[in-house]
Amino acid sequence: MSAETGAIRRRFEASLADLDVPVTSTTPAAFESTLETIASDPTVGTTLPFEGVSLPEWVDDEPTPATLERATTSVTAASLGIADYGSVVLPSTPDGSEQVSLFPDLHVPVLREADLVADMPTAIERLGPHLRDGESAIVATGPSATADMGALVKGAHGPKDVHVLVLESEGDDE
């Protein structure tokens, strides 16, 4: 890990700590067991486009409106993490990442460490070509929230909790 990546990583984690969002690191090999400690049943998910990583058996990877409704945890890929804000970028996909990341009470975005960027302009620069290609994405920062009912409440229409999983490449553990 370069010094710069280390600094960005620390900044990302500090931003998440400010948001009260837990973050756990794992590796492709340990992915399933790590996820097990975080997710609660039933869990739904969409394809993770990361080498050496796939959704465990016990995750419903072909959700339907009915199973989505019942799920309490969701697992989807994040294409970028933004250190300054503790944000993750969630690309919309034809298999339903947008709704899967939105309906259940706990959302677990999975982010490769290498996809962390320092700031907003860098993230938006990376997103530009994708949007111009017709894609959509959500810059998500912490759980859904509202203050409309007289005090801050988490989980207004979307997840009440977010738990970020950072995927380190194998052999990169310190």
């Binding site: 919309s92 959500i138 997840p159």
Partner: protein
């Protein structure tokens, strides 16, 4: 305004202060404090604002071309674009879409533009069930009320009121009480309604011409659901929302949440390029996997003109189109903090910039309803992420309203007494009186003390209240027989030009010259203690008074007179020293609009607030020990002045007090609420006092209550004296070597 109308207005404001004031105050103060904290974390806040401003300027400049580019992009993506001339046109199109879809229910995420269209009513007339899914908007839909804030529409409602409303309307098994219970109840109920919706409607905070993407700034997640659950998405947005490219979004993402609700970023920044790839959530097919669906989504982008293209051609209103509707100008505004958008707002929009929006989209009459509530304190100027001169837009619209209004009843009587440069139209007596304050002050001073004595008489106060709407609960300022200019002419300078370190012209503002002559004398002594050669020529009023009444032509003429009187001094290398911050703000801000650029720049570069000037002298080696210092001087409770803070010169007063060892406690309220003539007006007296109460509270706290009250502005001094029943002084009177203030 007639006496009757004034009373009605006062009643309406009083009612809102009582019913909604507390909730509005708590929320807006929270947002405003959050803004200060959040923008402080940015490395280059000012740079980011300038970048945002430049993007908007460029986009509005190129708007017709961007509309074409966007239309092509969206169509290439598979969507439809409709450009609606006005609200009726937009509504007709949206109703057609709904009827083609045979839509029974349409779910909406929050959109002020859709409020401008009144599209809900239009669809409901066709039998479509329209559901607001933003929790705040939904509360208002259930309560059948209008938004009071452009970002947080229901801030005027307390949790208790919402609980009462829900319990009455929905009669839940267990009565709802906490914010958590209310939120979960709304989430479930709205979740059901969204699931069965046929059409989703959103607004857009920004639209990118290069990709055809909508940027939606939300925290709840309802906009995400509204856009992807049904198969049809209608987005409504003013044409001004278009920016050239995706990359242009970055500064706005960083600024919008911080400026508005004081969040570094909201939970969700949706960047949707519709029709989106996400599958429809179809409850009629509950067991078909999302991955197996093959949806044919429908997307309609309805771009609204409704007066915007005309605003673009209007040199003064054009700036309004840069507005990103963050709400900072509302949250930072003293009057808004007290009374909220149900008084400070028009048909659709609320807060300081609403004047520009209402005048542009609904017409001047709607703006005229509330335009007076902008007192020109200018605290919103530095808060606006796109650097809009919001007070100026308010002034311009006020000027236009003055010119177009009905003829005032008493005006002809007073034309002779208070002549001004406004050629046409009608300006009520109240505005004329305050706008021509200099003439009044001259007359009052020449006839003092008789004028003061008569002004205090009950029949006179009653007449003033009836005819000019000057509230009789306010003490009127007492005029001095000997003006500052006369006093100084008789006394002469005590530091000769030959011995002086510098030469300064002390600007005799109307208040110092005719009413608070003592603070002028104190300023002379302070400057002379710094080895400054002082001159006090007779110079016209700065134009602040007429400008605050929307009398721009009169202000313009005054600006020329002031400049003519000062130009020679500037040429001679003399510094212009100003005691009253609102007059200095004229020289530093508004004169840019009233004088040729070179003249404006020269006066701005050569003029200083009096304590700023003292600071400069001390920095250049003047002996601070020749002033009264904190050793032996009083402990101070200090309120800076709104415009002084916007100019950023308040820091010098702080620095000088500190350098001279004063024990200072400073207020952090945005404005004292007096704002020149505002607090004298019968219809606004109570509002002014309510705004002032925030300041009074700070200065009545145990740690402040025995301190000497010090304020930099005339209005603030008067307001503090009324509120606290303690004397208030200007900082220069504290520093005066002869000062006895305790």
């Amino acid at each position: 305004m007639s006496g009757n109308a004034r009373e009605q207005k006062a009643d309406h404001i009083r009612h809102l202060l009582e019913t909604e004031g507390d909730a509005v105050e708590a929320n807006t103060l929270g947002f405003n404090d959050g803004r200060y904290e959040s923008v402080a974390d940015l490395e280059d806040y000012e740079g980011l604002k300038s970048e945002a401003r430049a993007i908007k300027e460029d986009a509005i400049e190129r708007l017709p071309a961007l509309i074409d580019e966007l239309t092509e992009t969206v169509e290439a993506n598979g969507g439809t674009v409709y450009i609606a001339d006005d609200a009726a046109d937009a509504n007709r199109y949206i109703r057609e879409v709904a009827s083609e879809k045979e839509a029974e229910r349409l779910v909406k995420s929050k959109s002020m533009t859709s409020e401008e269209l009144e599209v809900n009513e239009a669809l409901e007339a066709d039998g479509v069930d329209v559901v607001e899914t933003d929790l705040g908007e939904w509360v208002l839909q259930v309560a059948d009320e209008a938004p009071s804030h452009i970002v947080a529409p229901a801030i005027h409602k307390s949790r208790e009121e919402i609980a009462r409303l829900f319990n009455e309307q929905f009669d839940p098994d267990e009565p709802l009480e906490t914010a958590e219970e209310l939120t979960m109840f709304a989430r479930d109920r709205l979740g059901e309604l969204i699931r069965e919706a046929d059409v989703g409607m959103t607004g857009a905070n920004f639209i990118t011409a290069d990709s055809g993407s909508l940027m939606l700034v939300t925290s709840e997640g309802n906009a995400r659901k509204s856009a992807v659950v049904p198969d049809t998405h209608v987005a409504v947005a003013g044409v001004e929302k278009i920016v050239p490219s995706v990359e242009d979004l970055a500064p706005f993402i960083e600024l919008i949440g911080r400026s508005g609700t004081g969040q570094d970023i909201t939970s969700y920044i949706s960047l949707l390029t519709p029709p989106v790839d996400s599958p429809v959530v179809d409850i009629d097919d509950p067991d078909v996997a999302f991955a197996d669906r093959d949806d044919d989504r429908d997307f309609h982008l309805v771009l609204i003109d409704n007066g915007r293209m005309a605003m673009r051609e209007d040199d003064q209103l054009k700036e309004t189109l840069y507005c990103i509707r963050c709400s900072a100008c509302a949250n930072t505004c003293g009057n808004f903090q007290s009374v909220g958008g149900h008084a400070f707002g028009g048909e659709t929009y609320t807060g300081g910039i609403a004047t520009g929006w209402e005048a542009g989209v609904h017409g001047q009459d709607s703006a005229a309803e509330f335009n007076d509530l902008c007192t020109g304190c200018s605290r919103c100027v530095e808060a606006c992420p796109v650097e809009i001169d919001i007070p100026w837009i308010n002034t311009v619209v006020r000027d236009r309203i003055n010119r177009d209004g009905d003829a005032g009843r008493f005006e002809f009587v007073y034309d002779e007494l208070v002549p001004d440069e406004e050629a046409t139209g009608s300006i009520g007596l109240q505005k004329r009186l305050f706008g021509n304050y200099e003439t009044l002050a001259k007359l009052g001073s020449a006839t003092a003390p008789l004028s003061n004595w008569t002004a205090g008489l009950e029949p006179v106060r009653s007449l003033l209240e009836r005819t000019a709407g000057i509230d009789r609960r306010r003490a009127l300022p007492a005029f001095e027989r000997e003006t500052l200019v006369d006093w100084f002419e008789a006394r002469g300078p005590r530091v000769s030009a030959a011995d002086a370190e510098r030469e300064a012209v002390l600007y005799p503002d109307t208040y110092t010259n005719y009413i608070d002559v003592d603070r002028g004398k104190a300023a002379v002594r302070v400057l002379e203690a710094m080895d400054v050669h002082v001159r006090i020529p007779a110079v016209s009023e700065s134009g602040r008074a007429p400008l605050s009444q929307g009398m721009i032509a009169t202000a313009d003429a005054k600006a020329s007179r002031v400049y003519a009187a000062l130009a020679e001094h500037l040429d001679a290398g003399r510094d212009i020293v100003v005691i009253e911050p609102s007059d200095l703000a004229m020289f530093h801000r508004e004169y840019e609009k009233l004088l040729p650029e070179a003249s404006f720049e020269r006066l701005r570069a050569g003029s200083y607030e009096v304590i700023e000037y003292v600071y400069g002298c001390l920095e250049n080696g003047a002996n601070g020990a020749r002033l009264r210092t904190g050793d032996g001087g009083p402990a101070i409770a200090y309120h800076s002045h709104c415009q002084q803070r916007t100019m950023g010169v308040d820091r010098y007063t702080r620095a000088v007090f500190e350098a001279l060892n004063y024990d200072v406690l400073e207020s952090d309220v945005e404005c004292c609420g007096m704002a020149g003539s505002f607090g004298y007006k019968q219809e606004y007296y109570e509002l002014s006092m309510d705004v002032g109460d925030r300041l009074a509270e700070q200065f009545s706290a145990p740690e402040a209550k025995n301190r000497l009250v010090v304020a930099s502005g005339t209005s603030c001094e008067d307001q503090l004296e009324d509120l606290l029943e303690r004397d208030a002084s200007h900082p220069v009177e504290v520093l005066d070597p002869r000062s006895r203030l305790r």
